[in-house]
Each structure stands twice: as structure tokens, then as C-alpha cells.
């Protein structure tokens, strides 16, 4: 017994004598209340934080979209000024991409991925919290412009140089809207890269016993690919932003035309990030759909290895097609042809996924519950977005479509019809897991149909508007262009879509408070996240770290209940003999460090460099405190009914 208390690896005691810790290294232990959220390292709580804030920004971005559609409802409208309209579409895109879809995906990564691989947390729990707080800092910096005289950023979400230079984007002294945009995106990049590094390590290194890579749930695979795309693509935009920041703050000429700068370089750097970013937005959605379809078809995913492999191919090819965003910049014939063909090639692995989803439905027993409705809607809408994407890949056709409403229609089909539909499906699907309550089937389906109809009414006419010559990002248009009907219908559709989203959220909030309580596994699901002992899952996720014997691990568990129960009992004993369930300690340092970055970032964007230095020092102190605080942790012990014993174990 004495030997069992020693770690097999370090030969040290599991619970060394308590250290004398100064007040600033005292670990917070609150499990409820505001402190528990501010200091949390629990991947589930962090996932919920991501979820709440991304949904908030989703509504903000949606509101901006509605204002845009009001302005465009009729020709020659005066509802918004040109300037405000430009701010609106810039912030709508930036918000939806960086503050809504990406963090909502991150919410799913955080909450589900550790559960899917049978882990108790991510590899670096404090870093995970840090990624969230840094995200929030970036979100604040991006949006703070709304409350200043300068207004919000107004350079478009891809901020093409030299429109972002001081000469063209600083309308008066103290106009820092573009600086806020630059700084906000840099800080969001830090958050994304840090979060992704953590996920990569977690997925590769913290899988439950028996969970080989080719048994990973598809969502976890897509998390892994997305994380790799993020760490490899974000540096390009970060450097582009750094160079732009140098131009704006220190007078360099990277993108200054008068100093010999090449604005085309900005476009290359931006789209080397920007195209993988498209897959960063869609791969998590594909992962979620690949979980939902098998569950409600009651059979495994069709062609699992090919779905995984096609995800990898999409990620890889995604780095080789960036210039198709630049077909009209005069690349020359060879480059245009090469990127045209590469773009067509990427349609193959994408199509393969659609074939496999249909293959999954084929021969199954399809239960059209609400999440399944959204998932099926996803396939339809994503397919249409894919087809208009193929049309863009033909560069000569794209010469007419580029920067027209046809493109606007295309990317809303893949981003709303694709990403958002899948994320909305995921919220319904996992709501019982996360909150232990079930959304009403009637209201869920009603919201689906209203959203589905509103979405198509809004965006389908835009195909015609674009082909009829309407350029995007225009605050006004004339009544003689043949665009009136399409725009009016689109604006009506936008409000239907808005009503659908409203119903969706009201239903979700109602269910959170008063929905029907349910037991675990309401959908008869297949993957490991549903194997948690109760819904919502306990802080330690699993009473016993699960052992995986097959691809759909939970399905196997349900069909081999007795064998698994015996195995778990054995492992529970072993774990207790190893000192109990090890949990990471909470910490103040992630949020403190992020506050330093927020302060420094805001000061830098306002060209107040002493403040920026103070912010940098605060960040540095935060990091040092973090390092010397140590990872920390404590042990939980369970009684025989699986409840955590009141004594919260020994911390160290």
C-alpha cells in the first residue's frame, strides 16, 4: 500500500506536505459563484463561457446584419450613412467570423473533445482558461470603437491595403478605428493559437486507453485538423497585421504605396490565412454533423476512414488555393490557371463528405428529431454553397462574380447554411448533455423551419442580384438596375431569419430554466461523451477513465454492458490506489495575464505607448506568477454510489 502511494514515474509522494504559499499563490477553490467562473480551469465551464459570449456576439452580428438589410431594402435608402454602413458590414463580418462562429466552435471543442477522448480535462487547463480570457480581450478591443467618436473599424473584414494606411483610414486625428481592428485581430489570433496548441496536445496525448487515432470520434478528428489549420495559418495574418501596425504606428512602409509598398503582398498574406480560415469555420461543423447523422440514423458513419482522410486533404489543400480570392488582381494566366485547378480539386474531398453523409442515411432508421433536422438542413445548404463555390473556381466566370452579391450568397450558404446550421444542430443535440434538460420538439422544429425558410428567402435571391451586376459592400443602389425586387425579398427574408433565431434562443433559454429534465443518453447516442455518469457531467467527467474497445465507444459499452462494468470496477480500484481522481487547481493568473493584454492592447491601439508598456509588464508578471504558481492539483475520492466524498481531497 505504501508503494502504491508513490507515483510510478516520479517516485515521489502523490500528496507532498502542504507548501507555505504567499497570498498571491493561494489557489482559489470556489466551485460556484463568480470566482469559480473567473478562475476556472474546467474545460466544461470554459466551453460554456465560450458558448455564452459567442452567442452574444452572434446576436450582435445578427443585429448588424439586420441594419444592413434595412438599408438595402429599397433603392437610394437613407437609413444609414455610407460611413455607418461601411462600419456595419466590416463589423458584421469580423464579429461573425472571429467572435461568433470561431468561438462557438471553440465552445464545442472545449466541452466535447475531452469527453469524447475520455479525458478529465485538457492537457494545460490554465492555458485553456487563458485562451478564453484573451479571446474576450480581443473581442472588447474590436468592439470598443462603437463607443468612441472614431466609430467602429470601416475597412472591410479583409482590410485591403492601402485602404488601412493612415492616409486613407484615419479621417481625423485620434481616429483609431483601424488600429483597434488591427490590435483586436492580433489578440484574437493569440487566443486561437494558444487554444489550438492545447487541443492538439490533448487529442494526441490524453486519449483514454484503447482509443487509437482511427477510433477517434469524427468531431475530435475535425477538432484536430482545425487546430492544425489555426496554428499554421494564423501566423500569416498576425505578421501581416504586425507589419500594418508598424506602418501605422512607426512609419514603416510595408504597405505604403508612396514608399514602394506592395498592396498585393497584404492580399497574399491575408488569404494564406484567410482560406484555411474558411475551413477553420466549416470543419468543426462537419464534425458535429458527422456525430448527429449516425446517431439519428442508428448506424455508424459511412466510410469513417474516408471522412477523416478527406478532412485531412481539405486541410492540406486549403493552404494551396488562397489566390482564388484574388483572381481579379491580375495574377497572370499561369497562376490563375493553377489556383483555378487547385480550387476545383478541393471540391473532391468536400464532395466525398457529402456522399458519406448520404451513405450514412442510406439503409438507416432516420429519426427526424430537431438536431437531425438542422443537420439535414446543413447538408442541403452546404451542398448548394459548395456548388456555387465550384462556379467561382472557374476563374473566367469568377471575373464576373468576384465581389458581387453572388459571392455574398455563396459564402452565406457555406457559413450560415453550413457552419451555423451545424452549430445550431449541435446546441440542440448536446443541450441534454450540458444542462440535463430537453428542448421541446415542437418549438425546436418550428425554429428550424422558420430559420430554414428565412435563410433561403434572404440569400437565394442574392445569387441573381450578383449575376445581375450588383457589387457587394455598396450602401446604396439605384432603382433602375433591376435589383429592387431581389433586395426587398432578401430584406424580408432577413427578418424571417431573425424571427427564427429569436424563437430558437427563447426556446433555449426557456428550456435552460424550465425544460423537461432527462436522464443521461436521451438520443441513444454512440460516442464517448455520452458515457458520462450523469447529465450535466460531474466535474471529473468520468468516475472511471473509460477503456475503449471500438470506434463508437459508447455504443460498444451499451452492447457489452456487463463486460464494461466489470472492467470499470477494476479500474476504479486501481485509480483509488493511485491516490484518487486527479483534478487541476483553479487559478487567477490566466485572467490577470489576459487583463494585462487587454490594457496593453487598448493603449497601443490609441498610440499611448507608456500604457502599452505597462500592459506588457502586467502580462509578463502574470506569466511569471503563472509559472511559479505551478500547475497544482488535488484528488477526489468517490463513495460507492459514485458521489464525490465531501472531503475534497488533498491539494498540492
Amino acid at each position: 500500500m505504501e508503494a502504491a502511494l508513490k507515483s510510478a514515474y516520479t517516485e515521489k509522494d502523490h500528496a507532498p506536505q502542504p507548501a507555505v504559499r504567499p497570498w498571491f499563490f493561494t489557489r482559489p477553490t470556489a466551485k460556484t459563484g463568480i470566482v469559480s467562473w473567473l478562475t476556472t480551469v474546467d474545460h466544461k465551464k470554459i466551453g460554456l463561457l465560450y458558448g455564452m459570449f459567442s452567442l452574444f456576439f452572434f446576436l450582435v452580428g445578427g443585429f448588424e446584419a439586420l441594419l444592413i438589410r434595412v438599408q438595402l431594402a429599397v433603392p437610394n435608402n437613407t437609413f444609414l450613412t455610407h460611413q455607418l454602413y461601411n462600419e456595419m458590414f466590416t463589423m458584421h463580418a469580423t464579429t461573425m467570423i472571429f467572435l461568433a462562429v470561431m468561438p462557438l466552435s471553440a465552445a464545442f471543442f472545449n466541452y466535447l473533445m475531452p469527453l469524447q477522448i475520455g479525458a478529465r480535462d485538457v492537457a494545460f487547463p490554465r492555458l485553456n482558461g487563458f485562451a478564453f480570457w484573451v479571446f474576450l480581450a480581443g473581442a472588447i478591443i474590436l468592439n470598443v470603437g462603437w463607443f468612441t467618436k472614431a466609430g467602429a473599424p470601416d475597412v472591410g473584414w479583409f482590410g485591403y491595403a492601402p485602404l488601412t494606411s493612415n492616409q486613407f483610414s484615419t479621417h481625423f486625428k485620434g481616429d483609431v478605428s483601424t488600429d483597434l481592428w488591427v490590435m483586436g485581430l492580433q489578440i484574437l489570433g493569440v487566443s486561437s493559437v494558444i487554444g489550438s496548441l492545447n487541443f492538439i496536445v490533448t487529442i494526441i496525448n490524453m486519449r483514454a486507453p484503447g482509443l487509437t487515432m482511427m477510433r477517434l470520434p469524427v468531431f475530435t478528428w475535425m477538432t484536430l485538423f482545425t487546430a492544425f489549420l489555426i496554428i499554421l495559418s494564423f501566423p500569416a495574418i498576425t505578421i501581416a497585421l504586425v507589419e500594418l501596425m508598424m506602418d501605422r504606428s512607426f512609419g514603416t512602409g510595408f504597405f505604403e504605396v508612396s514608399k514602394g509598398g506592395l498592396p498585393i503582398l497584404w492580399q497574399h498574406l491575408f488569404w494564406i490565412f484567410g482560406h484555411p480560415e474558411v475551413y477553420i469555420l466549416i470543419l468543426p461543423a462537419m464534425g458535429i454533423v458527422s456525430e448527429i447523422l449516425p446517431t439519428f440514423s442508428r448506424k455508424p458513419l459511412f466510410g469513417y476512414p474516408i471522412v477523416v482522410f478527406s478532412g485531412a486533404v481539405i486541410g492540406f489543400l486549403g493552404f494551396g488555393v488562397w489566390s482564388h480570392h484574388m483572381f481579379t488582381t491580375g495574377l497572370g494566366t499561369m497562376a490563375t490557371a493553377a489556383f483555378s485547378l487547385a480550387t476545383m480539386a478541393i471540391a473532391v474531398p468536400t464532395g466525398v463528405k457529402i456522399f458519406n453523409w448520404i451513405g450514412t442515411l442510406w439503409g438507416g432508421q432516420i429519426h427526424t428529431r430537431t438536431p437531425m433536422m438542422f443537420a439535414l438542413g446543413f447538408i442541403w445548404m452546404f451542398m448548394m454553397g459548395g456548388f456555387s463555390g465550384v462556379m467561382h473556381s472557374a476563374a473566367p466566370a469568377d471575373a464576373q462574380q468576384q465581389d458581387s452579391y453572388f459571392v455574398v450568397a455563396h459564402f452565406h450558404y457555406v457559413l450560415i447554411g453550413g457552419s451555423i446550421f451545424a452549430l445550431l444542430a449541435g446546441i440542440h443535440f448536446y443541450f441534454p448533455l450540458v444542462f440535463g434538460r430537453m428542448v421541446s420538439e415542437f418549438w425546436g422544429k418550428l425554429s428550424f423551419w422558420v430559420i430554414f425558410i428565412g435563410f433561403n428567402v434572404t440569400f437565394f435571391p442574392m445569387h441573381f442580384l450578383g449575376l445581375n451586376g450588383m457589387p457587394r459592400r455598396t450602401a446604396v443602389y439605384d432603382g433602375n438596375m433591376g435589383w429592387n425586387e431581389g433586395n426587398l425579398i432578401a430584406s424580408i427574408g432577413a427578418f424571417i431569419l431573425g424571427i427564427g433565431i429569436f424563437i430558437y434562443f427563447v426556446v433555449i433559454v426557456y428550456t435552460y430554466a424550465k425544460g423537461k429534465k432527462i436522464k443521461r443518453d436521451p438520443w441513444d447516442a454512440r460516442t464517448l461523451e455520452w458515457a458520462v455518469p450523469s447529465v450535466p457531467p460531474p466535474e471529473h467527467n468520468f468516475h472511471v477513465t473509460p477503456t475503449v474497445h471500438a470506434r463508437d465507444a459508447f455504443w460498444y459499452e451499451k452492447t457489452h454492458a456487463k463486460e464494461i462494468a466489470e472492467e470499470n470496477a477494476l479500474h476504479a480500484k486501481e485509480e483509488e490506489s493511485h491516490g484518487g481522481i486527479h483534478m487541476p487547481s483553479q487559478s487567477w493568473f490566466p485572467i490577470l495575464t489576459a487583463c494585462g493584454m487587454l490594457f496593453g492592447g487598448l493603449c497601443f491601439a490609441h498610440h499611448f505607448f507608456p500604457g502599452a508598456i505597462v500592459g506588457g509588464v502586467l502580462t509578463f508578471l502574470g506569466v511569471i506568477g503563472w509559472a511559479f504558481e505551478g500547475p497544482g492539483g488535488y484528488h477526489l475520492h468517490l463513495d460507492k454510489d459514485g458521489n464525490v466524498k465531501p472531503d475534497h481531497g488533498d491539494s498540492h
Binding site: 494545460f124 496548441l197 492538439i200 496536445v201 507589419e243 514608399k259 494564406i272 477513465t545 492539483g633
Partner: protein
Amino acid sequence: MSAHAGTIDHHHDHTTTTGIPNKKLFMWAFLASDCMFFAALISTHVIYRLHPTPDSPDVLKIFSIELTSFSTFILLMSSLLMALAVGASQKGKVEATRKMILGTIFFGLIFLGCQVYEFNHFVHLGLTLKSSMFGATFYTLTGTHGVHVAIGVVWLVLTYIRTFKPADASKSWIARAVTQFVAFSVATVAFMVVMLAVTHAGAEHGYNLGALVKGVEHSLVATIVFGVSSAILVALSRSSWAVDFGEANAIDVEGMGLYWHFVDIVWIIIFTVVYLLEYL
């Protein structure tokens, strides 16, 4: 049953699915990301060398290839010391680890000193961030690398300080650690000031002992500050107590080593692309 049958206590035992420690994997993934940072910066520099702006200076008249070659060599040697530090830590030799880390810090600082001198010198020659596109790309690229080295040095210093953590957890060592860190920072800055003064004196009066004396004279305060802070460092460089630093911490040293080697390799590329190719 799979090969991994049996429970795994991830956070505690450092046993992982792949057997690679988390921190090491994290560092590899981070370096992959960092590669892309430098790739973007180096591309920018190369693109603007291929499309030079009319204000481009005559680079060969600005560069001092001897100095940069010397600092490159120094950085390479620091990698060797870093490798020795990792080796020592893996064998649990605390004292040797400390020495090697100090050596790495010292060489890293020489490299940084050379860079500070070089930047200073180039600015005197009229090459600034604003002066030309070459200035912008050059300073941004080499500056970013310099920041990487500086972060590496700070990290080494913190690790060095960490090796003094007493094994007796009830013993407080915070005041000691803070003093050491402050002394390090002050000594570094003071040393750089002295060295700059000495080199400038050397440039004026020729590189001889007289110049050294002149340089020290010109930066007397800095010299004294440097002396005092170094003395503090030396005084604090011994630990008579058992320390909480051993093989278990080797992974931290190793992660730091990966970073340090990466920064070196990046410098080899930068040195080749930014400096050597100009001489073709």
C-alpha cells in the same frame, strides 16, 4: 483489451497516450506555428529585396559581415551549451545544469549585445525603420528574432532561479528569487551600456586597452551598477539546501532547449537570406 489497458493519471504521472510528454508535444506544435511566423516575415523581406524600392541603401556598405558572423557563431555555441544543460538536467546534475544555463544566457546576451550594437550602428549610418523598405523589413525581421532570443534569455534566467527552489516546501524563497531576477535584469542592461560605450570608444580611438578604459570612464555609473548587481548574483549563486529540482524537471529544460535550438536554426536561415545572399 488494448495495449494501454490500465488507468492513466495524465496530470500527475506524465504518462501520455503517445509516451511523449505533453510539454514537449506542445513545444513542437508551437514551433511549427512559429515557423510560419518567420516564414511570413522572411517572405516579406525577400519579396521586397526582389522588388527593391528606389530608396534602397547599398546594403554591403552597411553590413559588417564579420560582426554578424561572430554573433552567429556565438549563438551556435550557445546551442551547444543549451544541449549540455539539457543533458545535465536529465542526469539530475543540478550544479552542471546551472552552469550550462548560465553559459547559454551569457552567449545569448552576447548575441543580443551584438544586435543592439548593430542596430545602433546601422541607425547611425542612416538605416532606420522609416528610411527605406529595406530598413522596415530588416529591422522587423531581425528584431522579431531578437525578441525571440530575449524571451529565451528571460526564460533561461527564470529557470536558473527556479533551480534554487528549496525541497522543503515550508521554506520561503520568493524574496531571494525576486532579488536574483532584478539583479539579472539590472546587470544585463548595465553591461550592455558599458559595452556600447566601450565599442564606441574603440571605434574612435582604436581597439586597445585605452579605449576600454575610456569606455568604462564614459559609463562609470553603469559600470558600478553592473559590478554591484553581478556581486549580488555571485553571492546568490550557491545553495546549501536540498533543492526541488531534478530529473522530473528535465522536461522543462528540454522544452526550453527546443525553443532555443529553434531560434538558432531560424537565425541560420535569416543570416543566410538577409546577410549572406547579399554578397552573391
